[in-house]
Structures are given as structure tokens and as C-alpha cells.
Symmetry: C2
Subunit: 517 residues, 2 copies
């Protein structure tokens, strides 16, 4: 096939990807390849006969070849990494997925599962010439039970379409993400996606009741439990939640949806110090209890940047060191008044310096827009080294200040900012630079990850490991844990055809650091 | 050792256990052994040299031998099964556990981990002569962080002592069980224990942030994450949550505690039909939203039995077909008034027939006592075949009626009753009989489990599989799922020394039924 002949198995340089897709400013590729260089595994290369087989299985239009057709599937959401896949397969059913994997496993062809391709760690794009298995067409809602609130659907359903579906029954999805318009539920579950309401509804580990997955050899594993409780042996679903497609391809999901709250109130608050942010968080937990849906933080640097670069207006004066967004959601109408009473007292007690509240959807959306635009605003200024850290609350903002101090004399480092989900101890630390190279990377990353490891945090709170952070896994996972991960992978995918090069570090040197921290 | 010479490796008959421990009425042993008879594995037998080794490791007083000392560890909570262990080890530290398992794995000695020994499926008692590893002495609270609400403790901490500890900081444990006075958190996590507040706080799969476990070869796996979010590779903790000690011994737990609610209100409600129970549940979910902590059901048979046999008084007239207990817990004071308004409207609309409410702790406890005494009241009448099923709400009570119909002409079946957690779709179906033998078992169990399987339910909602239900696992788990469980077990415990004979069925015939249902 001439289309396949175009595929080269070396990594494509990013400028090519930029020319092909270019929409955002790019970070340099080196950041994503720090650590030992990846080497293509000894997989079979796709032949014309393979393509012919897949066309007879899925139909002509569901087998894409040729650079132009395959191109969009080869670049990730952030445009940080690009792959060299020459073949995209679009199954419709679980049986299709099973047939594809059985064939690929038999032929020793590597496969990269891809849902909405909105991941932040490069997990859903081929590293070399893996076949892309796209769940795009697996978008059927199978059932929604309005008594129990349990939704069962195929993995390729877009999150926003599920939100709309369950909202029409008076329910909501337990997760909400900026990428809801294109991310798919199978990808959300595969990456254990977090988002802005984990404080209230927990992680997907608690919300996903069951799932169906296809393992590397094509075995269909039906664990589509729809019951809230099921203690019949090992909880196999958890092997697939958060393992980023390396142990199996999720094909169906059963998820427990909470009731849509009748009343939503929001507050945007200015504070003078991080200590006061913590005081306010304690007050909010105690006073708002079960109605607290979000408690988000932005520092002054972030808010200033959002105002200047995106022309969004902060709803209170931009003169405070920190800003907090609180969202309450309740079945009862008096929650807004209670919020105002609590904030007035906090103002009298000098815990907070200023605040505005609203229960109007348009205002709520405007305020959320400020919180969600941090990264876009920073990207206007240059390259962004962005981190997704879990850090104990007492030390949460310290790493922002320490990084600022460490980089204060480095001319190419323009801005250090912090924002994130205080309610989940999840900080997004960002460093804007005018260049992006190995020297800067080595100055920044070991420092940030080393500090995170020392204070018992996580180097990936919600974005996962993907291809971007395999080298840094050792800062959070112990040698023994990484060894067990590797043994599980070998048991479930002995030929390692599923999403190779991702999640698990390949080099021995990569697994022996945490103990030294 | 003369003490060890007393140990026989055949199953001890129950009358001996009864004479030894006798406190409750016993079910016959056959119920727990339906399916192929278990055969002792080819494990080494414990020698004097082994005992000497353990005494030098743990100290004389922490190594129990002799029938009298070991006896209490050989009979389960319900007095349904008894083991033949001749040796109980009481480690204090993770390192002790590691040394014990490393030694036993090397010597090919089988080990039965035991926490509070309050399980309902016989998972914590030896089947033959396994060494009992008791976590009784591992009872240190390591840390409680009053800002994040995260508790870190050793596995042997008694649940009630943890409740008291976190309550003093304004928090509560996310689970509550009848056996809280003796069950241990490590056992709770190993069995993924449910309880009465799953509807509000979810299962332990969502609340446990991290844990430490020791695998069969003595490897210490430190996954004591205390962060709410941690997406660094496979979520290994879930291998140990609910696997009943067959993949590792949990030694430490990190658990997220919710704030203690300021206001608790309870209602006890009479209803005329199961359809009305479902109507009330829909109303309760919509009206009480995030404040709904429990929604429990009892049928008239259960309540009558509790009144007659335990002299507890039902707080409303005992003339209704069904009784519902609703508990609301909130940070806001007006929740009680709201409950009364909602129930008054439900009364006007003839959804409910009668109700009483209270916010007084003594009344709340009295009402809970009625709900929690169902099984004790039934046991006064004879043998009890008790089932722990997850069933879709529409069909929830149907199996009680079907079973009643099926057994109406069987003289030895006295009573069929149902109660349970409507909020979690978790039914406890109970059949009181005057005898307990293979004939009755074969009449009842395949019928109940077959029906449960057909309607997509679970044969074990919260009690686990243990030794009692390995034969019935196939009614919920597919052949492929059981095969994967077996492969995981082989990977993590190749000599199968950890809690053998439990959870995973040994006979091939036991794994091929679900597809036929």
C-alpha cells in the first residue's frame, strides 16, 4: 500500500507536527523525552495483508491509512508529542475490538488505544508505528436507570453528551472536565480522570460500578456490574481504571450518577496569604459540609495573567495575593444565604479580604471561566513547564515559592504561578520560560519532583503517567510497586502489545530512586 | 512440641467447636461445604523447629500453640466453620509480618490472615492446619491530619477505637458496622466491608487512599498514599481491597474521613406495599439529596419477629407490610423540619401510612437497634439460611415472595423474611428452617442464586466469598473473570500460601455456570 509506505518508524520531529496541526504554541519535545530514549520494540510492521484483513473486518471506511487521514490521530491534545502510526482502526462493537486485538496479538503488532485524545501526558498517541485503535464510533448509550441513577454506555461516548443525557433525567455525571466536549468516557475511566468536583463526588474509582474490557489476546472481560455493592472476588475493574490502556481496552462502562442539585451558588474570594486560604478551607469544610462541591485556588500571578492576556475580568479587585472559588450545590434552597453569612463573618474576622457571590448561571460560568483559563493565559507568554502534583495542604503553596526563589536569577524563566484544586490537594505549578531545553528541564524537573516526593506527594495527581512521565514514576512509586506493575503487565499482556512505552518505565535505572529521596 | 501434636488435619466436626465456644445456635456445616469437598493442599506441616523460629522472632507470648490457646482463633464469628490451626502468630510490625511470610513461603507453609474475625463468609478461619496470622497487636494509630481528614493507622486497629479517635477531631469513619466493637480496619479493607452508610459515603474502594501490604514472599509493598488524587500508574491498592487476604496481608491503611455531621435526624415509616417503598425512595433521593445517609428496609415478618423474640418495641403500630428507616445527616440545622414536611406530604399523598421522627440520640439508637436485630431475632427460631444479595431495585423484594411461594409446602421452612439496604440495592433474604441439610440446601441455594444471576445481581453484596461461597462465585463472575483472578493469584502468590481454599473456586466445574443462566 502506498499510504503505508509513507510511514517511518523514527520519531517525527515536532515542527512537522506543528505545521500539520499547529494551533497552540508548542513546548519543545525534549521535556517529554527526558530520561532514557525510547527504542522501538521488536513488533511486526503492518503489511498490506494486515490492512486488507482489517478492511474486511470493519469495512473500508473504518480503516484509515495515509498521512492526511491518520495525521490528526498522531498528535496529542497539547501538541506535545507526535506518533508515526500509519493505520487507524475504528471498531463499532466489543466483538470488533476483540477481533482486532486477537489478530494483533497473534501477529505481534503493537496497538495504541485512543479515546478522545485529550490526555495531558501523551498516553493516547503512538510512540512509533503502533496501530491506533480509536473508540470514536463506540458511542451508544446502552441504558440509564432513573431509579438507581446507573448509566451503562459504550466507551466512546463523549462526556458532554452523557451529561446532557442524564441531566434530562434529573441526574449529573460525577465528573466534569474542561475537555468534556471531546473527551470520551472510556478515556476518562482509563486515565482515572479527576476534574473540578472530586472533593464532592470522589474519584472514578468510587463511581464506576463496572466495566467491560478486552485484554491483549482478545478476551472479552464482562465486569459490567450495575449494582452499588458487589463483593464477589477480586475487583477486576480497578485493573483498568487508571492503567491508561496498558492492561486492556475498556469497551463499556457502568457509572453511578448523583442527582442534579437544585441549587448552585458560587463565591469568588480575595485573601492576603496562603495561611488564610487554609483557614477559609477549614471554615468551608465545617460550615458547608456535604454541600461543598469545589474549593479552587489561584494565585495573583495567575489571575493577573488571565486578565491581561485573555481580557477576562476578575469579578473583585485584583489586589490580593490569592483567590478562592467556592461552589456549593444542594437540594435545599437556603444554601446561598448560608454562604453569604459565613463569608460575612470571615470578612469581619479578617480571614478573607473581599468576596462576591452569585446563583445566576451566567455569572457562575464567567467565574469558572477565570479559573479554567489559567493555562491558556500562561501559554500566551511562552513555553510552559506545567506540573500536576498532589501535595499535603500545609506545604501546598511552598513549592511555588521555592521554585520562584530557585529560578529568580534565571533570565529565561519569566513567571512562576500556581493554581489548582485545594479541596483535593492538587496543585498545578507552572513555569513560563522563553526557551525549553534539556538544561532548563534538568534545572526544574528533578527539583520539583524531588521535593514532591520528599513531602509524600504524587508526581501525577490526575493527568496520569502516559509517555511523558515514565521516567518520574519512581518519585512516587516504590521499587516494589513498579516491579509488581511490571509483573501484572507481563501476566495480562505477555507480548506487551497494548500501549507499549507508556506508564511503566523501561529502563532499570528508572525504578530505583524513591528510596533515595 | 506436645501442643502441636494435638493438631489433626482433618476438619473438626462442629459439635466440638460448639462445645468449645458455644454461644449461638449453629447452622449445620454442610451449607458451607456445598460444592466439591475441599482437599488439603500439599503444604508443609508445622514442626517444632518452625515454632522455635517464630518464638525467637516474635517473643514467646506472641506465638500461641495448644488447643485451648488456639481454639478461639479457629471458629468464625457466626460459629459456622471451624479450622484446625495449631499455631497463631501475633506480629506487631510490618517487618514481623514480612519475616513470617518470607519464612512460610520458603517452607511452603499455608497462612490464614485474621483480623477481628467478624467476617460472615468464613474467610478468616483456617480450613485445615494453616498458621493463623493475627493482626490483633498491630493496633497503633500512626497519624490523623485534622486539615485533610486523613487517618493513617495499622491494620489491627479496632473500628470503634478509630471512630472515637477521629470523632474527637470532628470527623467520622466513612463506614459503620454492627461488629464495630471487634472488627479491625485491616479486615474491613480486606473484605471491602459495606455497612449502613454506603449510600452516603460510598464503598471503601473510594475512601481508602492508600495502604501497605505484605505479599506472599514477604515483600513489603508501600502504597500508603495520603493524597486524595494519585494517578501514578496502576492503582495497586485495589488488588488488596476485597481480595480477602489471598493476595497479601494488609498492614497499614490510609483512609479519608468525612466531617462529623452536626445534625442527625431519623424517621421510622410504615408502608403498605413494596411499590410505595420505591416511590418513597425516589422522593427521598430527590428531596433529601446530599443529606440522605441511610434508607433501610424491613418487611413485616422481620419486624414482628424482632418484637416477639427480642422484646424490642416497634415505634409505630406493627400493622404495615413494610418499614423504612431513613437517616439524614447534615451540617445545617433545618434538615429535621424538612424531613417532617416531606413525610407529611407523603402521608397526604398516601405514599406512606405512618411515621415517627426523632433527632434525639437515645431514640435514634433505639430505632437502629430494631433494624440491626433482624438476624438475631430470626436465629431464635431455628436455623437461618441467610443471603447477602445485590438485586436491582425493581426486583428487590420479588425474590422474597418467590422464595416464600416456593417453600410454602415445605414443612421444615418456617419463615421467609427480607430486610436490607435499599439505598445500596442490598437485600438480606433469610429463610428460617427447623433442619439444615443438603436436601434443603439444594432446594434453596441454586434457586436463589440462579434468580439473582438472571436479574444481573450479585451473590455477595458485602460479605465476600470467603470459604462459604467459592462454589457460587460463578453465578456472578464470568469464566473469563474467574480465570483472570486465578492468573493474578498465581502471579502474586505462586505457591498459594496465602489464605488458600478461599475466594477462588478450586474445581473446574465451578467456573462454567454463569453463561448458562
Amino acid at each position: 500500500m502506498s499510504s503505508l509506505a509513507m510511514v517511518q518508524c523514527s520519531r517525527r520531529s515536532l515542527p512537522v507536527a506543528a505545521a500539520l496541526i499547529g494551533r497552540f504554541r508548542f513546548q519543545c519535545q525534549q521535556r517529554w523525552c527526558s530520561g532514557p530514549a525510547k527504542v522501538r520494540g521488536k513488533y511486526a510492521r503492518v503489511t498490506d495483508a494486515d490492512v486488507h484483513h482489517f478492511r474486511s473486518l470493519l469495512g473500508e471506511s473504518n480503516v484509515l491509512t495515509g498521512r492526511q487521514n491518520v495525521g490528526p490521530y498522531n498528535v496529542d491534545y497539547l501538541k506535545h508529542v507526535s506518533g508515526e502510526s500509519g493505520l487507524v482502526l475504528k471498531p463499532k462493537t466489543t466483538k470488533d475490538v476483540s477481533e482486532i486485538l486477537k489478530y494483533c496479538n497473534g501477529r505481534n503488532i503493537a496497538v495504541c488505544p485512543q479515546a478522545g485524545n485529550t490526555g495531558m501526558s501523551g498516553g493516547s498517541v503512538a510512540m512509533f508505528d503502533e496501530v491506533v485503535l480509536s473508540t470514536q464510533r463506540m458511542n451508544s448509550i446502552i441504558n440509564f436507570d432513573p431509579v438507581s441513577g446507573v448509566l451503562v454506555c459504550q466507551a466512546g461516548c463523549v462526556l458532554e453528551s452523557l451529561m446532557n443525557h442524564v441531566e434530562s433525567h434529573g441526574y449529573m455525571m460525577p465528573l466534569d472536565l474542561g475537555s468534556k466536549g471531546s473527551c470520551q468516557i472510556g478515556g476518562n475511566v482509563s486515565t482515572n480522570a479527576g476534574g473540578i468536583r472530586v472533593i464532592r463526588y470522589g474519584t472514578l474509582q468510587g463511581c464506576v460500578l463496572g466495566l467491560e474490557a478486552v485484554t491483549a489476546d482478545g478476551t472479552i472481560l464482562d465486569c459490567v456490574n450495575t449494582m452499588r455493592k458487589d463483593n464477589t472476588g477480586y475487583h477486576l475493574k480497578h485493573l483498568f481504571i487508571g492503567s491508561e490502556g496498558t492492561l486492556g481496552v475498556i469497551t463499556k462502562v457502568a457509572i453511578l450518577c448523583p442527582r442534579l442539585p437544585k441549587h448552585v451558588n458560587i463565591a469568588f474570594i480575595g485573601l492576603d496569604s496562603y495561611d488564610k486560604v487554609l483557614q477559609l478551607f477549614s471554615i468551608a469544610r465545617a460550615e458547608f459540609g456535604e454541600t461543598l462541591s469545589s474549593f479552587e485556588l489561584m494565585d495573583n500571578v495567575t489571575v493577573t495573567c488571565v486578565e491581561k492576556n485573555l481580557q477576562l475580568q476578575c469579578p473583585i479587585a485584583n489586589t490580593y495575593q490569592f483567590y478562592v472559588l467556592i461552589e456549593l450545590a444542594s437540594s435545599r434552597p437556603n444554601v446561598g444565604q448560608h454562604m453569604e453569612n459565613v463569608l460575612e463573618k470571615a470578612l469581619d474576622d479578617s480571614v478573607i479580604a473581599d468576596a462576591t457571590t452569585s446563583d445566576q448561571t451566567s455569572n457562575i460560568n464567567k467565574i469558572w471561566k477565570i479559573r479554567e483559563s489559567g493555562i491558556d493565559a500562561l501559554l500566551k507568554l511562552g513555553y510552559v513547564y506545567t506540573f500536576d502534583l498532589s501535595i499535603p495542604l500545609k506545604q501546598f503553596y511552598e513549592i511555588v515559592e521555592l521554585t520562584r526563589e530557585k529560578l529568580k536569577d534565571v533570565a529565561d524563566c519569566k513567571i512562576v504561578s500556581g493554581f489548582g484544586h485545594i479541596g483535593d490537594s492538587n496543585l498545578h505549578l507552572n513555569i513560563v520560560t522563553s526557551r525549553c531545553d534539556e538544561e532548563l528541564t534538568q534545572l526544574i524537573e528533578p527539583f520539583v519532583y524531588g521535593w514532591t516526593s520528599k513531602c509524600g506527594g504524587s508526581v501525577s495527581a490526575e493527568h496520569g503517567i502516559g509517555s511523558a512521565k515514565t521516567h518520574y514514576l519512581k518519585y512516587t512509586k516504590s521499587v516494589q510497586a513498579i516491579d509488581l506493575m511490571r509483573r501484572l503487565k507481563n501476566t495480562m499482556d505477555p507480548k506487551c502489545i497494548l500501549n507499549p512505552y507508556k506508564v511503566i518505565p523501561t529502563a532499570t535505572a528508572d525504578v530505583a530512586v524513591r528510596g533515595d529521596q
